[in-house]
Subunit: 357 residues, 2 copies
Amino acid sequence: MLYEINEKALKLESEGKKVIKLNIGDPDLETPPEIVEAAYDAMKRGKTKYSSAYGEKSLREKLASIHKVYGDNVVITPGSKWGIFSVMYLLLKNGGNVVIPTPYWTAYALTAKTLGAETRLVKTELDSNWKIDLETLENSIDRDTRMIILNNPNNPTSGVIEEKVFDGIVQIANEKGITILSDEVYADISFVKTKRILEYGGDHILVTGFSKTFTMTGWRLGYVVASTEMVEKIAKLNQITISNVPVFIQEAALKALELGSAIKEKIRQEYRERAKMACSLLSKSKLEFSEPSAPFYMFPRKRGLDSEKFALSLLDNGVAVAPGTAFGDYREHFRISLTAPRDDLNTALNKICEAVE
Amino acid sequence: MLYEINEKALKLESEGKKVIKLNIGDPDLETPPEIVEAAYDAMKRGKTKYSSAYGEKSLREKLASIHKVYGDNVVITPGSKWGIFSVMYLLLKNGGNVVIPTPYWTAYALTAKTLGAETRLVKTELDSNWKIDLETLENSIDRDTRMIILNNPNNPTSGVIEEKVFDGIVQIANEKGITILSDEVYADISFVKTKRILEYGGDHILVTGFSKTFTMTGWRLGYVVASTEMVEKIAKLNQITISNVPVFIQEAALKALELGSAIKEKIRQEYRERAKMACSLLSKSKLEFSEPSAPFYMFPRKRGLDSEKFALSLLDNGVAVAPGTAFGDYREHFRISLTAPRDDLNTALNKICEAVE
């Protein structure tokens, strides 16, 4: 129902209604102008042609140096979502199952569904601060398991996986020969330090992108770091699907990396402030929640809530949020994206507090 | 081997070697500057956010008015290739077969292969001017046939389907309840008038894009015109894969449509001249070929040729062409894209003539 809410919110807006959209992780901040200029400059230089399905060499090399791998381990994708789809498609198209801790990002489950793959969900709870239970995880793996998907920091909880738990998951995966796909799209702007999948070595796969770190959501730019064999397979899939990411967008990405930490620090700081404000406001309501360790989300619960009805009625009241059912078996939860200017955020959070009274 | 040749040509270029790339349909002409400016303007207006998986309403409505359908019948895709993949994925992921006249565009067969779908090829020959035999087509359809893919004008022959033959194909498809996917990406700049799938009505599907008509290959912008149900399904697939085409790219497309026929006429004229020049040059060699009815390709034959070896050795000599085997069972053929400035084209065609002596 996540995407339905979004299309409905866009429709209301196109009809001239004011909607404060806290339903998707699309920052209100603008893409830094230097990045826009870099794209324009590249367009003018004729970087508007077909190019490599692997991505531009310069960008792959730069990302490789950041992640301490080889350029051949990097493939550029139109958004991290495409990276996730590609890997899931390649590992699951001939059957098998995928193990996913919940709450999960909606697209994982929808992708598994369209591929006809079984999802084995490992439920985590607010009451244990979203901790993944290693025994439950291990027991959900069988001979047909093709991959485990981790999302760290997590969407929708904005929690991070504790190092010991992460170690445990990797150990289980290695023992059983299962590939981990680690979606770390929020990691670079996390409020706390968190371990990264590439630190473990092995044939595990990192997927991430520029959307969140550099406020470039609508540019559709992500990448996958994986074995050269997996990179090769993804590039071959790119060749028959998306061809290549526009080169002028890849040049904008190079500029983003150049600007680097200054942008990240600004974004992190802004979202930390917003999270503080939201926690303070929501703590006065009947909502229970964990404090975010990363941008952009909060995933509060109200006992007895039907979050689908709640989201629809709140949308009529001018605030879009995502129902908890979009993230697994969490009908009493809903997800708030702190992706609106502080004034709007304040208005919306107050409306939410009123609505749960 | 089409994509391998391309990656090798890019590699040679990155090493500083001069390669005249007649291997892919990427026009040497630049994207018109007005289109670049429209994209830049949209970026500066903040059109850099997530948006609808269906595409922007304004662009869908504009395309709908051009094709005399409703906006709900149009979905925007990152390139026509993605439109083709989506439709094939949706119709073939649960099995079945697809009927494709050959020579075909490589991606159709590679996509069917990755989906595990059987391809039933209907071979056409230079000697009968690439005419599709209706009886053979009809006999290749069985209860498991999910779709027929037409490519009109055709890549690699640049031939168009005669109206009577097209009528016959549609009649067979309608009688048997089979969906036709018609890839008409070269139709708007065809040298001759050719019938379009939408003229027939029914639930057949048009896929096309901006790449060829407006010299926008690297922008990745296409669209599908289909039933609202099919549009809905493609949009849902977009939601979990590519999210949306960058809005600033869609605004550039709107500008392209505004400029419209002036651009098309210029492009058509240029390629008609090139085709004339190429026919005149190649007719002095041992190559046999049909004259192109559309941009950009020629698909000559030389008896006894092994076009894979030929393409590799020609690449070492600074000219990239695509071996005929990339388009079906055509080892004696190879494809030349007339997508280089006339001087380069002249040099390359002379090298080709020498190489086939």
